[in-house]
Symmetry: D2
Subunit: 424 residues, 4 copies
Amino acid sequence: MITKDIIEARNAPRAADLEADYAALGARLARNGIAIDDLLARAKAFEVAVPSWGTGTGGTRFARFPGGGEPANIFDKLDDCGVIHGLTQATPRVSLHIPWDKAAPADLLAKAEEHGLGFDAMNSNTFQDQPDQAHSYKFGSLSHVDAATRAQAIEHNLECIEIGKTIGSKALTVWIGDGANFPGQTHMGRQFDRYLSSMKEIYAGLPEDWRIFSEHKIYEPAFYSTVVQDWGTSLLTAQELGEKAMCLVDLGHHAPNVNIEMIVSRLIRAGKLGGFHFNDSKYGDDDLDSGTIEPYRLFLVWNELVDAEATPGLDLAHMIDQSHNVTDPIESLMISAMEIQRAFVQASLVDRVALAGYQEENDALMASATLRAAFRTDVEPILAMARMQTGGAIDPIATYRASGYRAAVSETRPVVKGAGGGIV
Amino acid sequence: MITKDIIEARNAPRAADLEADYAALGARLARNGIAIDDLLARAKAFEVAVPSWGTGTGGTRFARFPGGGEPANIFDKLDDCGVIHGLTQATPRVSLHIPWDKAAPADLLAKAEEHGLGFDAMNSNTFQDQPDQAHSYKFGSLSHVDAATRAQAIEHNLECIEIGKTIGSKALTVWIGDGANFPGQTHMGRQFDRYLSSMKEIYAGLPEDWRIFSEHKIYEPAFYSTVVQDWGTSLLTAQELGEKAMCLVDLGHHAPNVNIEMIVSRLIRAGKLGGFHFNDSKYGDDDLDSGTIEPYRLFLVWNELVDAEATPGLDLAHMIDQSHNVTDPIESLMISAMEIQRAFVQASLVDRVALAGYQEENDALMASATLRAAFRTDVEPILAMARMQTGGAIDPIATYRASGYRAAVSETRPVVKGAGGGIV
Amino acid sequence: MITKDIIEARNAPRAADLEADYAALGARLARNGIAIDDLLARAKAFEVAVPSWGTGTGGTRFARFPGGGEPANIFDKLDDCGVIHGLTQATPRVSLHIPWDKAAPADLLAKAEEHGLGFDAMNSNTFQDQPDQAHSYKFGSLSHVDAATRAQAIEHNLECIEIGKTIGSKALTVWIGDGANFPGQTHMGRQFDRYLSSMKEIYAGLPEDWRIFSEHKIYEPAFYSTVVQDWGTSLLTAQELGEKAMCLVDLGHHAPNVNIEMIVSRLIRAGKLGGFHFNDSKYGDDDLDSGTIEPYRLFLVWNELVDAEATPGLDLAHMIDQSHNVTDPIESLMISAMEIQRAFVQASLVDRVALAGYQEENDALMASATLRAAFRTDVEPILAMARMQTGGAIDPIATYRASGYRAAVSETRPVVKGAGGGIV
Amino acid sequence: MITKDIIEARNAPRAADLEADYAALGARLARNGIAIDDLLARAKAFEVAVPSWGTGTGGTRFARFPGGGEPANIFDKLDDCGVIHGLTQATPRVSLHIPWDKAAPADLLAKAEEHGLGFDAMNSNTFQDQPDQAHSYKFGSLSHVDAATRAQAIEHNLECIEIGKTIGSKALTVWIGDGANFPGQTHMGRQFDRYLSSMKEIYAGLPEDWRIFSEHKIYEPAFYSTVVQDWGTSLLTAQELGEKAMCLVDLGHHAPNVNIEMIVSRLIRAGKLGGFHFNDSKYGDDDLDSGTIEPYRLFLVWNELVDAEATPGLDLAHMIDQSHNVTDPIESLMISAMEIQRAFVQASLVDRVALAGYQEENDALMASATLRAAFRTDVEPILAMARMQTGGAIDPIATYRASGYRAAVSETRPVVKGAGGGIV
């Protein structure tokens, strides 16, 4: 663990500069009628969940190259999540993946409490076969042609709910890889019917105060068709299931060129936006660190969310979902949490009264400039101040590196076997 | 006009070969338990509407290069449509575009009757300004921020319905270019609300036996966001309007890589598929001749449609919508009608019992092979026989060229002015 | 014209805030060892050319919606360019398009001198037919199958060089729309040979101190294949022609997802990067204002250019090439010039020593963070200071609007006819 | 092994129908002046290599679902390749991947001889770490910043050549995953320089009669930039290395919408086309069975190749490169070989004299129709006759299934461990 002492020791020499930067930014914002302390309060209140599996090194079908100190189990992962939240003060909840993270509830709760963490949405896994599994998911799970396979997948999801109930989770995220690799392989209509039928059984097992998230993805692992391929199918699903069913948007799950912030706007209007899986991408579902490839896109998504804050019933679950192949996962998760927070604060800066006026006048140029003015404001002093004042690090990466955490766990955690394996 | 005599004279020397090819194909299909005459009957019953505007040479923002004998008005266009239907026997209806095709209903009906034609869906135009228009559509039409502009656009659509009623049309297709070129230019949520509100007023004016088609398009002429950008928004629109509102799928209006036949399947299940605008494309909304770029995609769309033929309530409007920039538009429309018909007949060949069996067994390879076997069957003898037996041409292109039609109208129709103009 | 008095009057009330912001930024940069005055000097030295045709309202194949005071000829356009440069002090050169901008050289030079402007690369036009043209470009120009058509297109390019020589231009940009709409329409190999042969004839007419720019584009106006479709073909062309032939990169002319900054890097290494056509886009060649859709992409391009500044022989021509459909073109060109300049200054901020160190250590996270740190620095005070100190406007848009220039020219310039025309 | 007896027994009941179909097709082709026996001869002469690794079940980063009888080593793989060639008579050579397929040369040659097989291009692997490897490829191989890592990768490639020499191979294919996941992670220019430098060392070790193939890929496993990202960079590489260096085109390695057949045409003209990795795809590098997603694209590639057959020096290496995730790999490889052969024969049917005439006349419609006429000709009787006459199966899939081969090897080969593992 990285203690408060370590953090404070690293913050101390940076504090004066931060105060100066914060004051300078505050003065400039005040000139435009913006109170920096309001933004600071918003930054402090910001939260995004981290995925337990994101703390391990990811890979591609070609290879996986683990780093040192890979977490061997959910308790190691929670330790890593504790570091992330301790330094950024922005990630107080962890999202679990079953069966990867199965453990005794009491132990999970104890470990989480140790780090001041809670649990976010549960994630089921019917895209892989487990050693003792009766039926294979090679040809699908919730939408499989075989009733027994579907029943097994439904049962697994219900089990995820049961586990979640014991640790305080309030939502189940369902992402399946079901689809087809070739035209004709499946009857797309009947396959969707089977999926809906299975989802209804899961929905029936949902506690009163839970929600279920439907997550779409254009392709991968299926390469011709995917059952829930876009937000249209996700919406049909959520409509059919009922009011506890909502749509989850993963930023990397769309066709090239698609306007994602517009999908966000449409789902809000349809009353079916449930939350996000944040990451960034250039080609496919690249699962890169949030905000590192196209930061303006992330800002535009947040622009919709901040604009819609007052929408009745809007209650969003924000989570990071990434694959860290060439970086220390703890560092990537910290960077990502901060970039998401940055976009949120920048979007909070948009002069919405002016913007609405420009929109009414069809002043496209000034409307567009109004968004860019907010986006180019360097809000780092606000983010850093929020961290410092809540016990986090002014510079989480530098503090983490200085702490020697990775080296320490590299000594205590077992070395991962089969390092260089790939699938191709 | 290309008389029956001309057609028969060109058919005569080809008839024997056609009979031989038809017999050989029939024998081969019979071996697989398929009666070629059933397919012939289906081919004869096939219909696709042609767009009046497709008879003129199209262009790009860079230039337009008209050919000879460009139609100067709707009556010229109907003459051209008469040629297309006379030779292919597959295009008995014409879709009009208002205000381009405005004329006295009696004259329209008389000219159509002369060619044995009827009228398909009406198309409104609020993506261009007309000379005497009070309000500009520069910043939108049905979704414009200004109520008077919206009212004008609504009124225009209602007028299209009124015109359509006089000529036997039963549907209105609404495609708008409304959107934005820059982030922030419009409030995407409120813009959609205004669009829905306008559409409801049009819907209220729809006769009992009419339908209204909502058509989505990812981009162009708007380059950042488009109000009805994909089938999800089109579906939301049709759901909100009511049971007479259906979704129209244009094959060229999707993001790269999107699985269009899957959208077809989803809209069928949602009870909201209304019809198609056929064309082909490689990059954007290229509006190329149907079946010339990716013929298997066209087949896969028809595979869904043939599969769903027995769906209660499914009643589809099929129309070509293309831009003919480098070909004789009459030829391109004939080719396109025949390629669409070809895909329909090929899809009719799919052994659906075998396919369903393979799907049940997860035999992806044989399921896929079953579709390809139908696709690679050369059904040209069936198409040609259908044409010959219904008074059309065995080889429409050769017959058309031999007729001298284009040269003839080039002498009588005025030369189009401003030939080389472009917009850039 | 917008006089220095007007500009100064608008600058005066903004100057104190600017000085304060500049000082605050300078202090912060100094902390990282960066001298803000060096960046100011770079900002002042920055130049990007504007396209004469960009001063008129553009459009799409669907419609064009002109604004008030559209320039009626090259002299109006130069007046508008004078305004742009007067306010931004970043666009001292204008790029002409022939035949659109043909005029007596003496008059051109006199008008340019009036505004302190010079002339940049000449642009030929063989993608449209002109009224008195002997041969049509409907099926191509420099690559046409007909030798006489190619000769005409070659001759036109040679004429562009001749005109350019009279006004001080030193380069010819060749962009052609030649290609095909259908597989088989052209023999792609022989078509490319004809193109190269034509280009060699133009190259032979190039003065000693001129360069010729080959510009690639994936599609539009041709929708199946384009002769110079990507940088590979552009490179082959430049290699074949000789050392005066260079490749021009237009940011909107690539396939979806393509890494443009990598192409920049490759062309630099090949010794064949000649310059840029700046704009921004989301879908195709949208020709939107630079930096308004994906500003980080623009920064990454500049990151490559600043990194390569010391490359021997690297001499780049920077030009804006956009279509302004919904904004005042003067405003869009000013915004674009400033966004390009912003990316240049931000890229100049990159700590290249630190970056190189991270790259050597495979510290992907810190390397990436180093670029983002530069990108998120709000350099507006540097840009504004550069403008103010060189006689431009602190806020060019506000100053332009206050000047009443558009209203004034709307009264004196003729109203454009055929406003709402489209091609479809 | 599937004996000749088994094949003949399955062919016997199909032979009469085949003869009839062949005769009917022959008659129809003769009418157009085409001698079907010439096409038969071409079909018989056709060859495409199979990849040893393609005989095992592939997977994605999410999971791998092996089937029964997975090959445990290169000898099992060669047995499977023997089946493929025995039934299709189209795949007489196998391409090896080192180190996966390392074995004693004599044993390899003996096993190959047993099946009448030879060896095609060697494939090196520097995208994975092997158990005893000194330096990791996590951050690159031939382009790594560390000289020792580069040396190790070079050495491995030289070893591949040495192995290849012992088994009669004449080419080395180099595909690397080197690149970056984040902007800034690598200096793209210097990284390319290092790659070229390494390739030169490998090139220096190439025997006189060998060739080296450079293979480009837009992305994966690197998600921001890839060293050899497109054919432009591949061309630069081949130009720099020398005349034994050629470019390899994998059909699935391009950006969305890219015109691949045009790249083929350009590389032929540049004298640098070396061969192909065949597969099909819809989204990314999906590695699906050839001809199953977009068969017309495969035909258009072959149209270029058949057109260029007489090009001096053109000597192409054709190989399948796919990942079989949901099918029996042997079946997928047979289907793919036959689909590639089909496209080749269809392309051989193109009336090139007529096509050239249409191209000269800018008759886009008839030129395009000429290609489609060849494509829609069902050449299955020619392919089947070629197989039958050379000892293969009329219906390879049915014969394979009837043979019980998969069941037999499932009993003798060890069950693969770690079945359901994934990487995510």
